[in-house]
Symmetry: C2
Subunit: 375 residues, 2 copies
């Protein structure tokens, strides 16, 4: 049986420049190898922080300073540092009603309570946020943090509308809420420009979180955050791991320093190409039965609403039998409800396997629908 | 002014095989580069866990299983995982009265209280441990954990006598204390064989912590722990960083898998050679004024007792003026007392700079002593 995996958020193999990375890796050892005898600098390798700063500046934060940027062991470590440093067990954290499953796990692991806020096709609903913040304050439990993915949201692919961004920040600032802005998908933008980051609009109250996992590869385990000195230092005080891999950082920096802009363009082109292949396949195999989705403007995912009445659990059973993996709606729902959605990663399968894989998903939908009629 | 740094615990530059690492790094990208698109396995790269298992087995734990071994981002992450997973804020942790400064910081950061136990030239005093455990139990605060460095102890260089190991474990087991055995210096042994690890004697109640920082280089940020399934799973539940750098792990594994035994012998020879140079320099420049030390049987450090009556603070002031760095006794004292000791790393300076550097330290001691007489 041929298996298809649309579940994990993985980069396209073709987007990883193996020969250039081999050269960068060899040069790193021969030229900088002796530096590996030292523990990495507390903020991380300067050359890679400069690359991160270029990405942050390209997203509107022209005022961000190199000293604000800290390398982390993946974006997940940055989220964990924020959860431990900027809130205390029992505090509540504002999140979009659907959000990144691992971020939820980390935030909860720190004893924090997730408070979901409804979204629509233009992202988090600011009116709903106002109500939630007022309600939590009235309960005597004003949230300390908001963890948000405003651009190319995971899992829904929605981008928070530009005109909602300042009103959202006015609200969080008024309530003393620090925003963790997870911008890990910002590099993968299919449009000429994304909306400016929350961090660029309110640098004093937003911790910006970025990643090299989507731009380069997850195996490097390289992420970063940017925050004003007071927030940065509170988070740094919890980063007691002896530093982020200097082997990873030096190899990535040696390659990206010279190739960043070309590399970003190339990765975007590859993901956008696969996105178009994915949408054509969805049109062909899923639309006829009543599935619906929004065309993403960037990021890694299609968030597909299942046909009315179809049971997500029935579909999961059929798909497992057929060797097909996708993200199940309930994994991203803050309440863990069995919402009728699947998340499909654009690049986890090579482009030429997308249509055959989505055809299998279409078959599974048909079988799950017929099971409903039988039941 | 020529500066000397005997403070940081760094490997000798000559012990890092740059050309072989360059080859391993290049091969990693060309042959395994596509694997970097995936998130590292939860337990870490199997090939490097196998290398770790060989090190663990060489220390007496022939019964350790590959499934018990988990890669971490440096040994520090393993210590942090133990502190968060195996104790709760407010709990107390047994430690040697002098111990690793960063471990103290991590344990305290988790809200845990350090309870020091006296040592002598043969390591932790088991009679004192019995008293402390009984006292804490009587206070209604029985410790959950002990964090110990039984072999080539940091900072004192002492190794816990073999005949104290089982009695110590009888005590910790009787009191329900899980031992974190920090064995990061075990690879650097100048004698034919070290005492068997605590983990080999009591695998169910000891978490073994090892590192590639001393064997290879800290810039890889690779450590590991080995623990029985129940302890391992509790710690793994707190490892939410998306995995340990696969770039670091694959390069290290590709080199070490083929070269482990030769590499271990070579590193030991280099460190032992520098240790002999260091001891000759101490004999020449420090002994005459009354400094004393034990010759280490392995590890990275000389722990030098200052001449009677000499003020550690006066020495620190003089040394700073002369551009000389060393580890100050109080940084390793659990109570932060100004104990009259300095810690000198054997390999942080190249071998040919050890004698000139220790000569400067001898001068500083003389000046600090004369200041005392003036004062």
């Amino acid at each position: 049986m041929e298996r298809f995996d649309f579940n994990q958020g993985l980069p396209d193999p073709d987007s990883i420049p193996l020969e250039q990375l081999a050269e960068a890796a060899s040069e790193t050892m021969l030229r900088d190898g002796f530096e590996l005898r030292r523990y990495p600098a507390k903020l991380g390798l300067t050359a890679l922080r400069e690359v991160a700063l270029r990405r942050i500046a390209s997203r509107g934060s022209a005022g961000a300073r190199l000293d604000d940027v800290v390398l982390t062991s993946g974006a997940l470590q940055a989220i964990g540092l924020a959860a431990s440093a900027l809130a205390a067990p029992g505090d509540s954290v504002i999140v979009e009603e659907r959000t990144y499953a691992l971020a939820m796990r980390i935030i909860r692991r720190h004893g924090l309570r997730l408070v979901p806020v409804p979204m629509d096709d233009r992202g988090l609903r600011v009116d709903a946020l106002a109500n939630v913040l007022a309600g939590e304050a009235a309960r005597g439990a004003p949230p300390k943090l908001a963890y948000l993915i405003p651009t190319h949201h995971n899992p829904t692919g929605v981008t928070l509308a530009a005109e909602r961004r300042l009103p959202l920040l006015d609200l969080t600032r008024a309530h003393g809420v620090t925003v963790i802005e997870d911008d890990c998908y910002a590099d993968i933008c299919f449009e000429p420009a994304c909306a400016p980051t929350l961090h660029s609009l309110a640098p004093e109250s937003v911790v910006y979180v970025g990643s090299f996992s989507k731009l380069l590869a997850p195996g490097f385990r390289l992420g970063y955050f940017a925050a004003a000195p007071e927030l940065r230092d509170r988070m740094l005080a919890h980063k007691n791991d002896g530093g982020t891999s200097d082997v990873s950082a030096r190899i990535a920096a040696r390659y990206l320093d010279r190739n960043l802009d070309d590399h970003v363009r190339r990765v975007r082109r590859i993901v956008q190409g696969s996105s178009q292949v994915m949408e054509a396949a969805l049109d062909r195999h899923l639309a006829p039965a009543g599935s619906r989705w929004l065309t993403p403007t960037g990021g890694y995912f299609f968030w597909v609403e299942l046909p009315p009445g179809l049971s997500p659990r029935a579909l999961a059973g059929v798909a497992a039998e057929r060797g097909l993996a996708y993200g199940s709606g309930r994994d991203y729902d803050v309440a863990g409800a069995d919402i009728p959605y699947v998340r499909l990663c654009i690049t986890s399968e090579p482009a030429d396997r997308i249509d055959p894989g989505i055809a299998v998903l279409g078959d599974c939908l048909g079988r799950a629908a017929s099971m409903r009629q039988v039941a």
